[in-house]
């Protein structure tokens, strides 16, 4: 296994320490239980946004702690949901009196651990479940869709609303709205390598791709022969648009997300493939985000996310944000 590590057991703590030291102006990292918290305390009380999940998806979530986005993030072990005490400690640390809003990606492990965290918590709190991945069929009899790259859009927009002093209820309602307007789907060319395992999670032929893949190296909807970028995009967008059913002339945010091992050049090429299709369908890309934001360690591949925009989402997308990995207007 080829990684910059000293010892498999220390990866997380060493990496978090480096992360804290590289971002001393924005955040601090607390250990045992581990969480990342925004350094600047809000002037007026505001709803505190807390997210978290297994590590290995960096910059998600820690990279989005800061003004205009998250108040805290709870990093679990690699691909393992964080533990309830992390959420409880983070909440007590960042609470400023207006309640806590947890933003949780829809995985059994995350849901259960966040629930146990809120069980322990004495603060008013609400939870938004992000489940933007259309690769998975949503049925009331199953766990439902996964939360993937759309999470960043929920975190950014709700983070902005919270800064305005909105109530916990308003933040939750808006976050659920943004989640509903958002759909994603991805494809992987290679497997990631979990450091503790030391080898790729799955084997895949040199001409194969895993279609409708998640962000943990778990298998996707199907295994297929590699296709052209245009063909892949057409399939991904097909599923996304079928879910979102955008109107004619719908304005959207197009987010091309890399899983970690794919060069930016290819992500921009995917953007181009997507735009060609969206243009044909009279869907207007009025905001865009391209890069490695919700990764799966070193996995090659990427995902497309679309959010249907309205004035409120646009406003809270455009507003100032100052985090390690998303920053503008400040």
């Amino acid at each position: 296994m080829k990684k910059f590590i000293n010892n498999v057991d220390d990866i997380l703590s060493e990496s978090l320490t480096g992360f804290a030291d590289a971002n001393t102006d924005i955040l601090e990292v607390k250990f045992k239980p581990d969480f990342i918290a925004r350094k600047s305390k809000p002037a007026k009380s505001k709803v505190a946004l807390i997210s978290g999940g297994g590590s290995g998806h960096e910059p998600l979530h820690g990279g989005f702690v800061g003004y205009g986005m998250l108040d805290a993030a709870c990093p679990g072990h690699i691909f393992s949901a964080p533990t309830p005490d992390q959420m409880e400690s983070a909440a007590n640390y960042v609470d400023s009196g207006k309640g806590i809003l947890f933003i949780v990606k829809n995985y059994s492990g995350d849901i259960m651990n966040f629930e146990m965290g809120t069980d322990m918590l004495d603060l008013e709190n609400q939870t938004i479940i992000v489940n933007d991945d259309v690769a998975v069929e949503d049925s009331t009899y199953t766990t439902g869709r996964r939360g993937v790259a759309g999470t960043i859009i929920v975190e950014k927009t709700v983070g902005s609303l919270a800064e305005t002093g909105a109530s916990l209820e308003e933040c939750k309602t808006f976050g659920e709205h943004v989640n509903k307007m958002t759909a994603s789907m991805g494809v992987a060319f290679t497997s990631c390598t979990v450091p503790a395992a030391g080898k790729p999670t799955f084997d895949i032929g040199i001409d194969e791709m895993e279609f409708g893949v998640g962000i943990h190296g778990e298998p996707g909807r199907k295994r297929e022969k590699i296709k052209t970028a245009d063909e892949i995009t057409s399939e991904l967008l097909g599923a996304i648009l079928e879910d979102l059913k955008p109107n004619h002339n719908q304005e959207v945010l197009l987010h091309i997300n890399g899983f970690g091992g794919t060069p930016l050049m290819e992500l921009y090429l995917l953007f181009n493939s997507s735009k060609k299709i969206l243009d044909q369908k009279n869907i207007k890309i009025s905001r865009s985000l391209v890069g490695n934001f919700t990764t799966s360690l070193d996995m090659a591949g990427g995902s497309i996310t679309i959010t249907k925009l309205d004035q409120k989402i646009i406003k809270h997308w455009d507003s100032p944000v100052h985090t390690p990995s998303l920053r503008w207007k400040m």
Partner: protein, 207 residues
């Protein structure tokens, strides 16, 4: 039941899990995300480290503390679920019952809590396909006096439960994203749970 016995069982569980490490790792790589083995090994190690502190304490206290340790160090689905099991088992501890009845009632309580926590039931291709039949069987056998007989029976039930997951289509947990593709693989959580139960049963059978 006492602290020493609990840690002794934990030691046996550790040996069995370590022995089947590669198999469990592979199962979660096939239909999950590959972290299950590391999660449970971390949980076992952290729990064993409590031994010096807990030895001599009441069994319910020991179970609760181990449950809390699992809750705060494991993470993932299995951390939440095993912690839920242990913490809720400890709540029902009643030293006035026979050992059999005590364990049956504790276990039933723990498994019911897991079902709630996981919003899951039998046949969803999870560790509950081991725990639910085991808790039912424990209840059934709780009037029985021969603990070795009970242990043999439970071992069998656990194994059948584990094996039953192979043909199921997962509807809970990470494997559920695979739909049809989840078929033909044993659930990693079911396998590790069955190995743990088997390790305890074997200890009873052998003494």
């Amino acid at each position: 039941m006492n602290a020493e016995k609990i840690f002794n069982n934990l030691n046996q569980i550790k040996l069995s899990i370590d022995e089947h490490q590669r198999e469990i790792e592979k199962l979660d790589q096939e239909i999950g995300d590959g972290d299950h083995i590391f999660n449970i090994q971390r949980g076992i190690k952290e729990s064993l480290d409590l031994k010096d502190k807990l030895i001599g304490q009441d069994p319910d206290q020991v179970l609760k503390e181990i449950g809390m340790k699992v809750m705060t160090t494991v993470g993932g689905s299995s951390g939440a679920l095993f912690a839920t099991l242990l913490i809720n088992m400890s709540k029902k501890y009643n030293s006035e019952l026979t050992n059999q009845k005590n364990i049956a009632s504790m276990f039933t309580e723990g498994v019911e809590a897991m079902k709630k926590r996981g919003k899951a039931d039998l046949g969803e291709k999870t560790m509950l396909d081991v725990f639910i039949p085991v808790s039912i069987e424990l209840q059934k056998l709780s009037d029985h006096e021969d603990v070795k007989y009970i242990a043999k029976k439970i071992k069998e039930v656990a194994k059948n439960g584990m094996l039953s997951t192979e043909d199921l289509i997962a509807t809970k947990g990470r494997a559920s994203y695979l739909g049809e593709r989840s078929k033909g693989h044993i659930d990693p959580g079911a396998r590790s749970s069955q190995l743990a139960i088997e390790a305890i049963c074997n200890t009873i059978i052998k003494t």
